[in-house]
Symmetry: C2
């Protein structure tokens, strides 16, 4: 059974932060998001990898019961390399090799088509749309994107935006897409274009969730050591939709909890490179940090 | 009666933001802080103004029952002019005229000396120390500072730091003073130097409070229109210490509430230039926004 369909990249990343320099490590938005979602539900990935994609990476995902029927194998794996400066706030993309992504035409396995929850992770918006069109009757669709698509495929992006229930953006993307420095204004603008819920991820500063009637402010977990923020936003979104799929409750109140689980998983993810920290994560770790998140915002 | 002594500047500011350009308006750290504190308690100011300081400004403070016995009149008023770029995050100082501040020697009126709460607002740390030395038996001393003193009077600043219970800094100052981009690390470093409580103000992103045992994350109020952030940090601190003085409760739990009142008053203050918004503020407005702050945090 697949209850969350996730389309996005599966990648081999090369990442440099002040705490290390890693080559060809497991990465990609769909990888991070599905791994995070797997703590709560049964995700299935739609993606493409090349023959150079290590079997061990596939097995890591299979061990978490992530469905890989929708992962096509052809050509060469998408590669991204980036670096973070001392303040770790924003990745500087050094190089992107699209490879197999250039010709990728996502075809969904039948068992994916009945999924009630869909996460369109960061990838070309025209691919997001192709996947969404194959889902029969989604209960909730969430999307993410990145500055590259805002700059180069804004029309396609706005087309997807019209069809989703939830958009997740980071603060810089929200400012860029809606041409305002004020995040409240950016969220209001997003709400006018289709989504009923807008989530703005602010890294160490937590996250904001806006609906037309309500505002929710999620604290950031106070991390003393951030080793690598790569994939934090994807993990956030994966845990968010995974929790919603688990509870089958898409009320604003339950989405607040989902946002907190998103922050929790994202904070763990930033503690190490690639999926190293998430690999070791237990339900108990998650529960404990969720309780801490309650405590740090109590007044 | 004076229950909170506040030393800091009283100033005539010239401020330019994307929403206006104002000349010689009422400003200064002690002005903002005492006005904010006056919603909760009876502050007394220690400051100096010149003969050019309009009587109307003094009356505005007197109307709020702020004690001005400690305000000396000589020479010419301190002037600051600054501007904010489109993102409104940081003031760019264009010009500072110290004027009467250059020779200011603060002497406390007797009725100030028994005050239990002291706020050393942003001013030369050697003046902060002179005031603190005249307070007989303070229950809680809080201090603020700014980048200028971190750069030019760091030793004096660290001397004051040793003697206070609470330090309030904005995020940029915390990073600068402790030479780290990580705010958790900065707070841990500050806690080692004397204060039992460290509060880091993050503007729109809210505030963090650290003690050795606990961490509190206060949300930022979602303001759609920020007209002028000048004095937001001072208002925050004034409301914080004012609420503590009113309740006479310096427990960590009560400080969390004080931080929220700080955020509430600071958010109002940013809605207009100078003290324009605070002038019209009612207890009901404050109570309402305090309740909103609870609601945006609930999960």
């Amino acid at each position: 059974m697949v209850d969350v369909v996730i389309i996005g990249t599966m990648a081999l990343d090369s990442v440099k932060t002040p705490f290390g320099d890693k080559k060809d490590i497991l990465g990609g938005a769909a990888t991070y998001a599905s791994f995070a979602a797997s703590f709560f539900s049964q995700p299935g990935i739609v993606a493409v990898v090349g023959d150079d994609f290590p079997e061990a990476h596939m097995n890591l995902l299979i061990d978490r019961k992530i469905n890989l029927e929708g992962v096509k194998k052809e050509g060469k794996t998408f590669r991204w390399s980036g670096s973070y400066e001392y303040d770790m706030n924003e990745a500087k993309t050094l190089r992107t090799e699209l490879n197999a992504l250039e010709t990728f035409n996502p075809i969904l396995p039948d068992e994916y088509k009945d999924a009630e929850f869909v996460f369109l992770a960061n990838i070309d918006p025209s691919l997001q749309l192709k996947v969404l069109d194959q889902i029969k009757n989604p209960k909730l669709v969430a999307m993410d994107t990145m500055n590259f698509w805002i700059e180069h495929k804004k029309d396609d992006l706005l087309n997807v935006l019209k069809k989703v229930d939830v958009i997740l953006l980071n603060d810089a993307e929200a400012r860029q897409l809606f041409n305002t420095t004020n995040l409240v204004k950016a969220a209001r603008a997003a709400l006018k274009l289709g989504p009923k819920t807008v989530i703005i991820k602010k890294g160490e500063h937590g996250a904001l969730m806006f609906t037309n009637e309500k505002h929710f402010n999620a604290p950031g977990y106070p991390l003393e050591d951030v080793k690598d923020p790569t994939g934090a936003g994807d993990s956030f979104a994966g845990a968010f939709i995974g929790y919603l799929a688990q509870t089958k409750d898409t009320s604003e109140t339950n989405m607040r909890k989902a946002v907190i689980f998103g922050s929790v998983i994202a904070s763990f993810n930033a503690e190490d490179f690639s999926l190293e920290r998430m690999k070791k994560l237990t339900d108990k770790d998650i529960e404990k940090r969720f309780e801490e998140m309650k405590n740090i915002r109590e007044f």
